[in-house]
Symmetry: C2
Subunit: 363 residues, 2 copies
């Protein structure tokens, strides 16, 4: 049996990068037996620097880098590490066919990723920043015609959910997509389920914050920017050309609460309860439910509160699951639906790993 | 811009094959612009024979073959056609890299498909027979290690729904799949929705037959064998090795109705109404609903009537949509769900076309 060795360079050793290292180690025998594929880490980097070995890092080095990060240390402090300024050159030096895996959360990787795809390397990204930044970066990364054989970024939307894979198949089949509607935030799903159950908005948000479901400043979730980034990536997958500034985002809080300190914002939340209750009651009376949804339709991308039929897939959702509806020539009036957990380091890393395996079969 | 030309041979020019020819013609500009890919038909066959042109059939010849079939004529009657006995050799003669596309519904294509994959050609199939026949045929077609670069058969399960694509990504990510539950029959979905609404079983089946939702003999749907074939294909996608005879299928009618003529069977249906009503009422009282579902779990594959929680994805289903739930390490307790239309020539052909495009990027 011929073994196909695939070298990769890992950027980012936080939660997702660490989960990926574990997943690859655990999948080694399975990948060999089922696919004849062996994945070899040749570089592991954080923002400070990298460990590099063209012939493959040993497991101890790889796990050392992950462990250092977990302890709050920097990769550059490890023995044999190169400095941040030398990482791009080291990645390029790994040669064509290497898969550059972005598990970071910064747009600082963009030049390196563009250099990789243009230099015959491949890119897999869980990082949504490079694909939701300027259209020009997206074009350079995804190609025209598209670099189907070289670039995958499934985990940039809905973690490991095959939302982009499903979309890509619709586009390949030339099945015209008329509308995409989706929820892309487990946190906001939790809030909507609470509203549907008749609970006060402020109480749900405070609970979600205590449970660690929200960012330290809940406005980072309630503002909808993260949802907008994901919807932008799907719209670009359709071939739409637009920028984040073209997305019409309506936050779940009014503008006058935007400038408050976090404690003052939290104290002001009960003032929103009556308004949300009225909206939730009106939705329920109409056989509908509130969702914080993205809508891609008629050339416009909107993100905000929507009232959807209870009998629809989005209406049947509860809890923190993500859900995407695709309305096309063949999926209409009933959409194609992909649903499931849309967050978490494990499922995000699983999406990255599937992307890596898919690219193992392209030249 | 380098254009990648992909030659294909089309087996079967019925509803799906015809829809595929239309879809490919309609997608020509899109495929060139978006992917730099051009699909060229070099052979088109039915069971009687084929038209062949190594350099590509012109559109008139291709459409002529489809039109002949639609008029009840045979491809072998067309000018320049070769006989059925010569088709396998002609397909092989198209050389490596050719995509052999099976839009037939017979297991007679199996030897030709196996010869194709072993000879460096690729296979895309909407035909479920080759993948739900003997395990040995499946192994020869799908390979060990798997021929990810050479074989796709998405439309053999749930038409164009990305059910196999989603499963394949879970397997690539080594995310252990504990259970798959799904409905794979629009007809039986329609029956279950009717039962849930309190309608008599016999009335729903007769209506479905009049609407053309069922086969001429409704037992071909109610018997569950088609559902079992699809579930078997998903189980094999997990790496399970089993035969159709290992699937535990419980039809929706009792054994004593199996040997009746179609009119006698239809006349006997009202005798089943009380039993179904009792089951539907019991399900409703428990906050559940009846579904005709396949279950892949603990090494066993069962197909039959099941009562599922209304709040679950399967419970939220209505009408003719198909739905598949995957429970894995990362999708538990909430499963990964794929849902949508699971039948129809258009969506089936769309799945075939997406498979063809994916394989355009492998060597």
């Amino acid at each position: 049996m011929a073994i196909k060795n695939v070298n990769y360079a890992l950027l980012g050793v936080g939660g997702v990068g660490s989960a990926l290292v574990d997943a690859i180690a655990g999948a080694r025998d399975h990948h060999l037996k089922t696919y004849g594929v062996k994945l070899t880490a040749c570089l592991v980097a954080d923002s400070s620097g990298a460990l590099v070995a063209k012939g493959g890092l040993d497991d101890a080095a790889l796990r050392g880098a992950v462990a250092a990060k977990a302890k709050g240390e920097k990769v550059s402090s490890l023995e044999g590490a190169i400095a941040a300024a030398d990482v791009a050159e080291a990645v390029a030096g790994l040669g064509p066919g290497t898969v550059v895996v972005d598990c970071s959360a910064t747009d600082a990787t963009v030049p390196l990723l563009i250099r990789a795809v243009t230099g015959g390397q491949k890119v897999v990204s869980a990082n949504k920043k490079p694909f939701s930044g300027p259209q020009a970066d997206y074009d350079a990364l995804c190609g025209q015609p598209r670099f189907v054989d070289r670039v995958r970024h499934e985990s940039s939307v809905g973690a490991g959910l095959p939302a982009i894979a499903a979309l890509q198949r619709l586009v390949m089949a030339n099945d015209p997509v008329k509308k995409i509607s989706g929820t892309f935030s487990g946190t906001l799903g939790y809030v909507m389920t609470g509203l549907q159950a008749g609970r006060p908005f402020s109480e749900i948000v405070l609970e979600a914050k205590q449970l660690g479901y929200t960012e330290p400043d809940p406005r980072d979730d309630l503002g909808g920017v993260d949802v907008a980034r994901k919807a932008l990536i799907l719209a670009r997958g359709l071939g739409w050309r637009l920028e984040m500034s073209d997305v019409d985002v309506t936050p779940l809080y009014p503008p006058e609460l935007a400038a408050l300190s976090v404690p003052d914002f939290l104290a002001a939340l009960p003032g929103l309860d009556a308004g949300f209750k009225a909206k939730a009651d009106a939705a329920a009376a109409a056989g509908e439910a509130l969702r914080y949804a993205a809508n891609v339709e008629d050339g416009k991308l909107t993100v905000g509160l929507a009232s959807v039929a209870l009998a629809s897939p989005l209406g049947s959702l509860s809890g923190t699951d993500n859900l995407v509806e695709y309305y096309t020539q063949w999926y209409d009036p009933s959409p194609l639906v992909v649903r499931g957990a849309g967050a978490g380091a494990g499922t995000t890393a699983a999406g990255v790993l599937a992307d890596m395996l898919e690219l193992a079969f392209t030249p």
